[in-house]
């Protein structure tokens, strides 16, 4: 009897710390969901859409917090040092989390400091010209760019951004040279295109959807035509294996225990795979994705290799 008590005490002692970290117990309190961008942006809108489902599945409040700055780098730098206990998760954007550590001196995080739980959505990038432009197709655009090397102005939003990379990849694939005009966001980009100040723009599908009557979208970076842009072809249709896009997902700090990661991963995947979530995302001009943690990590690793090479070719890689 006495021996049994001793054994059970010992057993309890050894189990106690392990138990407190075990997945069955998690989560015990509110989870903070960091958005690395200002309120009202797409990342925020989606987090707010996920919030009620996550709260239902996990049974704890989800607190959405904003930490905008440096195109996301501020939040990711801080988040990389956060306590890896699963109580803080953070939205991630690709290629941002790949490009920033590779090319920006002040971005003090590494891509693999952020362990993705899932990648839930992708924003295809398209090439668009003004409605009354003399360019009518991707083919004509490439011919025009070849005839006027370095003279065709194309608006992008942000340097070392998804648009910038898309443009560099496009130039390489089509053997052209474009002049990039860097605007600070989608609105000035669109305004300058419609005002005729730039020849073309690289635009996010979600931004192009609202202006499809005022522009000609020459190509869009999906494999199949988008339902919200039925009249506009893909790059693939026109013989270019080119799928420029920006992806959104969510991550935990690198050293978060596997069982907690798994629980969060499951909750997020369940949420973003709901049909009503899909239809909302599709309508706004995005493509729903549901990559799990493993797939996301593989995807990010592959993309990292591609961008590393591309940055090196243009001498944009940070000297380590």
């Amino acid at each position: 009897m006495k021996r049994f008590a001793w054994w059970s005490l010992l057993l309890a002692l050894t189990l106690l710390p392990a138990h407190s970290l075990a997945a069955t117990d998690f989560p015990k309190g509110p989870i903070t969901y960091i958005i690395p961008f200002p309120p009202g942006g797409q990342s925020d809108v989606e987090a707010r859409m996920q919030q009620p489902y996550l709260e239902k599945i996990l049974g704890v409040p989800i607190v959405v917090n904003y930490m905008p700055g440096a195109g996301g780098a501020l939040a990711w730098t801080k988040f990389a040092q956060a306590k890896p206990d699963g109580y803080t998760v953070c939205g991630i954007n690709i290629p941002h989390i790949i490009l920033q550590p590779l090319s920006q001196k002040d971005a003090a995080f590494k891509t693999d400091d952020l362990k993705p739980l899932c990648i839930f959505e992708s924003t295809p990038i398209g090439l668009a010209v003004k409605k009354d432009s003399k360019i009518n197709s991707l083919k004509e655009f490439i011919e025009f760019a070849k005839a006027n090397p370095g003279k065709v102005t194309v608006g992008i939003s942000g340097k070392l951004s998804g648009h910038h990379m898309a443009s560099l990849q496009f130039e390489k694939m089509t053997n052209t040279k474009l002049t990039l005009v860097t605007f600070t966001g989608a609105a000035p980009q669109v305004t300058n295109l419609l005002g005729g100040h730039v020849e073309a723009i690289w635009g996010n599908s979600s931004d192009l959807v609202g202006y499809q009557t005022q522009m000609k979208i020459l190509s869009i970076g999906t494999e199949k035509r988008m339902d919200v842009l039925p009249n506009f072809p893909t790059f693939q249709e026109q013989g270019l294996k080119f799928y420029p896009r920006i992806d959104r997902g969510v991550a935990v700090p690198k050293n978060t225990p596997a069982d907690i990661t798994a629980k969060l991963e499951k909750a997020f995947l369940e949420t973003v795979n709901m049909p009503e979530y899909h239809s909302k995302i599709l309508q706004a001009g995005f493509v729903p994705m549901g990559l799990n943690s493993q797939q996301s990590m593989k995807y990010i690793a592959e993309e990292t290799e591609i961008f590393k090479k591309l940055l090196a070719e243009h001498n944009l890689l940070l000297k380590q």
Partner: protein, 505 residues
């Protein structure tokens, strides 16, 4: 009619209970800061901005705009009753307004100030409705070279109209431009002057700067000097101006409204300048100019109408081009961006509810102000009696909480305190704050547009002259630059300068 459907849309927005509430809160806060000397609309809007994060952008803008024009009403109250201008735009109202009060006619003075402001507010809202939408369509013709030239012109006007020394205004502006180069360079993506502080990579925050310059600095400066408060103790009665008063002031009000509206469109401290110009015009047109300063009602009606109309005019460049003309509008621009609305020519067509809702709210807000101001005058006088040892620490607390709640960043708190100390010292040496604040906002826009224009033109600066709109702005800029050497204009400016002693907005 097109415009009627838009008005209906605006009405639909503003009559939602939440927006009515925010409109009311805005004008209430506006009147309050207008009444309180030492706290102007700029600081108030900056203080309240973080509290608008969780409401819709329309409600937020409606409230923030309400603070702006509400302050113009409140400012006149203290000018008339206490001879302390609640904010700079009401400085001129002291001249005749307080004299009227001393003669026992405080009621009609307050009444005509409120009615004049209401009429002017109405005129400027109608002007905004008529002018802004077509201008926004035209604004599509504005590319990088046009924007750059326009901003260049704007700065020259701003400095030209500076109330103090031109040289000091220019120095503050250039200092602001230097500050605005901190952070990530939007064109090349490299970090500049951040010293490895990631918080600085988006540049020096506008809100910490404004809270420091207008909030903290103002408090320090006010602690130092003892404001004499001799409140007219007799009860204010007869708020309604009589028929003779109306006859005397209706034309000054109309002239002031139109003048204020157009001056409002120009960059610079429009409410201040328009009030002074209106006073000067009324004095010139009067058959008895010698009576000005002894308590004539025209001297209250015209300037009060003008400073209110100017607030409406100032929204035109904001909604059509996304360019701020003064520090209040600069914060509103910041509010747009915080709420995910990219300012520019597309605002009116892309967010019609925002534009028309705000416009209609201004109309309704003016009506609310009339109600708030006339019967509640006694209450505002009581507010004036809140002891400063209670008020000032509260303002400081609000500044600290306000800045921290933006990004939870201690760096920004440090920045705010730095700006506060700097602002205090600058004030001591009679430097103006407005050029500095505007430079922080406009600096990155100017730099970007200059460089984008040159990217588009493959490096040729001729793009600024070959584009006709841009060439026109450059031409006017050059004209203004040489004009101080033309004696007639130089004298005028000097006259205006002598009168204007205001320091804010």
């Amino acid at each position: 009619m097109d415009i009627l459907t838009h008005i209906a849309l605006g009405a639909q927005v503003i009559f939602q209970p939440i927006n009515l509430l925010f409109c009311f809160l805005g004008v209430l806060m506006g009147t309050l800061v207008g009444v309180l000397p030492g706290l102007g609309p700029t600081a108030a809007i900056a203080l309240l901005l973080p509290n608008t994060f969780h409401v819709s952008p329309v409600s937020a803008i409606i409230m923030l705009a309400g603070i702006y024009y509400g302050a113009m009403y409140g400012g006149s109250t203290t000018s008339i009753l206490v001879n302390i201008p609640g904010e700079a735009a009401s400085v001129i109202t002291c001249l005749d307004g307080h004299q009227m009060a001393l003669k026992g006619r405080a009621g009609p003075a307050l009444g005509i100030a409120a009615f004049g402001s209401f009429i002017a507010g109405t005129v400027s809202v109608i002007g905004l409705m008529i002018v802004a939408p077509p201008l926004a369509k035209f604004a599509l013709a504005f590319g990088p070279p046009e924007y750059f030239s326009l901003m260049l012109l704007g700065i020259i006007i701003l400095i030209y109209l500076a109330s103090g020394s031109i040289l000091k205004a220019l120095m503050m502006f250039v200092f602001g431009l230097l500050l605005s180069t901190i952070g990530m360079d939007a064109i090349s993506g490299t970090q500049r002057l951040t010293f490895g502080i990631l918080e600085l990579s988006d540049g020096v925050g506008l809100i910490p700067a404004i809270m420091g310059l207008f909030g903290v600095a103002e408090v320090i400066a006010n602690v130092e000097e003892e404001i004499k408060r001799t409140i007219i103790s007799t009860k204010v009665k007869n708020l309604l101006p009589n028929l003779q008063d109306w006859r005397d002031s209706i034309w000054p009000i109309i002239r002031g409204s139109v003048l204020g509206f157009f001056i409002g469109i120009l960059p610079g401290p429009a409410p201040v300048i328009s009030a002074f110009s209106s006073y000067a015009i009324e004095k010139k047109l009067s058959k008895h100019p010698e009576k000005f300063g002894t308590g004539v009602i025209q001297g209250v009606a015209g300037p009060e109408a003008a400073n209110n109309a100017a607030t409406g005019g100032a929204f035109i460049p904001l909604f059509t081009l996304g360019i701020p003309v003064n520090s209040v509008i600069a914060i509103l621009l910041g509010a747009f961006m915080i709420h995910g609305i990219q300012p520019g020519p597309m605002i009116i067509s892309k967010y019609p509810d925002l534009f028309w809702g705000t416009v209609m709210s201004m109309y309704l807000g003016n009506a609310m102000l009339l109600v708030l101001n006339l019967p509640l005058i006694g209450l505002w006088v009581q507010v004036l009696k809140v002891p400063y040892p209670i008020l000032f620490p509260l303002i400081l607390l609000f500044c600290l909480v306000g800045v921290y709640s933006l990004n939870y960043s201690l760096v920004e708190i440090a920045l705010m305190i730095g700006f506060g100390v700097f602002g205090y010292l600058a004030r001591k040496f009679q430097f103006e704050m407005a050029p500095l604040v505007l430079a922080i906002v406009i600096g990155p826009m100017m730099e970007n547009n200059l460089r984008l224009a040159l990217v588009i033109s493959q490096g040729s600066p001729m793009i600024f002259i070959t584009h006709p709109i841009s060439a026109l702005f450059i031409f006017i800029t050059l004209f203004l630059l040489i004009s101080p050497f033309v004696p007639w204009i130089g004298r005028r400016r000097q006259k205006l300068q002598e009168k204007v002693e205001g320091e804010e907005v």
